[in-house]
Amino acid sequence: MTIRIAAVLLLFAALAAAPAFVPPFEVRVLSLFCFWGALSLAWSILGGFAGYWSFGHTVFIGVGAFVPGLIVARLLDGGGAELMPLMVLAGGLVSAAFAAVIAWPLLRLRGIYFAIAMLGVAQVTGELSAAIEWIGGGIGLSLPDAAPAALAPEAFYHYVFVGLLALTVGVAAWVRGARFGQGLLAIREDEDTARMLAVPTEGYKIAALVLSAFLTGLLGATYGFSLGYITTDSVFRTDFSLNMIVHALLGGIGTVAGPLLGAAVMVVLTQVVLGEMLNLHLFATGALVVAMVLLAPQGLLGLWRRRARRGADGRPRP
């Protein structure tokens, strides 16, 4: 346990120190890792722990990003950079409220039906944000640059993303250990039995979706600020929904470390190895998903644990 805590502290110390030592491009790559890792972990609170796979989690990024966009454009006349923390919080809260509204009907659906329903929610919300003139997602909304003058923008947003990743890891680790998280795992294993054993399945599922949406909304709002200009197409992105699932699947679904490991591998793969071949990213992602499901359904962590369980002679230990 102490080794794990030390490893986590070391990881965050390294991430926080990075802007002082590495060039801007690498800082951006590290920020991307924090963003993707935190997203995937936020998705995992519902998808990994409770087994309710959302295929449309990008809706919470979109809602989270559009809330500050609308506050800035409709209330603050384009200014208000110093209010960024409050606006990010508002993005998270509105996202959570939105989740609470859709939770009751949608969480009555199970398995594939829930997955597709979430896909539909994301699709429709995105289309509405572009179609309704007051929201203005078709044309786009600008957000002020919130970075203080003393800091380069990429360093500032890097610190914010590191902070949000720390928050998400903390929340996910707490959930995993708490009674609430045990209840979610029970729902994943067998919802009807869990309910029979007096796990409040309905309340737990709704709480998991709302918590997940809150974290995703915070990340979405921050992402919006880091872009500086948001449109429907730049925040309601199917590939965001997809990446959250792929990272968790790659690292090991239902764990806290898995999504981070998955995000790290994918960032290295897409930004460094395939950085020059943008037109093949989709193919690589698809191939990776197929290979993982067929060869390592428990993810990289599962592979490693299986190896660790075997003795030096390659036979499983009793």
Partner: protein, 292 residues
């Protein structure tokens, strides 16, 4: 009154094609329990196949249907016997969902590289001709598409309901172990069913190619569409797909006409969620495992 009737007619014509495009998905879902997210890829492949035949050989898309269907049937059979069967055996049916999703991404990417991401459509000699029914009007292409859809859907219904092969498919859907005990080669039937589903998706793609523009990226929309049709109508039967398709077509055109084209998907989705909550097995659903 006339505009409303015209909108309803357009909706029914479109709905017939939606039903045609969804029936393969329904069959695979109902018999194998696999949610085939590669379905839209089969539809788009059919459209590109018909386009290729039309441009290179000059063959009319409807006359070229047997070729497209044969090619997609072979592809579907091989795909099921290799990747899908492996995914179902090693992991679970949810794993097959992910595998088909991964393959869809790869196929879309390959199509973008091979066929370019440009918007295409198939222009036949009769593309701009129309039929008049009193004050109402239907494009000849759409009428031909609808007729083809209805003929092939009826053919599938007869195949499933009246032949020994259809009986084997229905038996496998209801109780795979029982079917195997009665001498049905379940693996082979699964492969054939998947091939049949792919062939129908490809055929619908050839028809759709004449009516609507398509790109490699259209596959996602057609997969989602099939899912909605099947949820509305009920899993596993051509009749269910037809009912769901017609309903979806009418909802889509009515919304586009009277609310606004931007709200089409929102309306379709609202109906889908209501349906899932009120009657999850669909209008004509059976109590098969997959339709629950």
């Amino acid at each position: 009154m006339i505009p409303l009737l015209q909108t309803l007619l357009d909706g029914l014509v479109l709905g017939g094609v939606y039903a045609f495009a969804a029936v393969g998905f329904s069959l695979i879902f109902g018999v194998l329990g696999v949610v085939n997210l590669t379905h839209g890829v089969f539809v788009v492949l059919g459209a590109y196949g018909a386009l290729l035949l039309h441009e290179v050989v000059g063959l009319d898309p409807i006359l070229g249907l047997p070729l497209v269907m044969a090619a997609l049937f072979a592809l579907g059979y091989l795909y099921q016997r290799t990747l899908i069967a492996a995914a179902v055996e090693r992991a679970s049916l949810v794993a097959s969902l992910l595998v088909t999703f991964g393959v869809a991404l790869m196929a879309r990417n390959l199509l973008q590289v091979v066929a370019s991401p440009d918007v295409r459509s198939i222009a036949t000699a009769y593309s701009f001709a129309g039929l008049s029914l009193g004050p109402l009007r239907v494009d000849l292409v759409r009428a031909a598409g609808l007729l083809t859809s209805l003929v092939l859907l009826s053919g599938l219904a007869l195949l499933l309901g009246r032949t020994a092969f259809g009986r084997a498919i229905r038996a496998t859907a209801q109780q795979p172990v029982g079917a195997a005990l009665s001498g049905v080669n379940v693996r082979h039937v699964h492969g054939l069913t998947f091939g049949l589903g792919a062939a129908f998706a490809g055929a619908s793609g050839a028809v759709i190619g004449m009516m609507l523009p398509f790109t490699p990226g259209s596959e996602a929309a057609w997969t989602l569409n099939a899912f909605v049709v099947v949820t509305l109508g009920g899993v596993g039967s051509p009749q269910g797909a037809l009912l769901g398709g017609l309903l979806l077509g009418v909802i889509a055109t009515l919304t586009a006409q009277y609310v606004g084209p931007a709200f089409q998907n929102a309306a379709m989705f609202l109906v889908l969620v209501l349906m899932l909550l009120l009657r999850p097995q669909g209008l004509l659903g059976h109590a098969f495992a997959a339709s629950r």
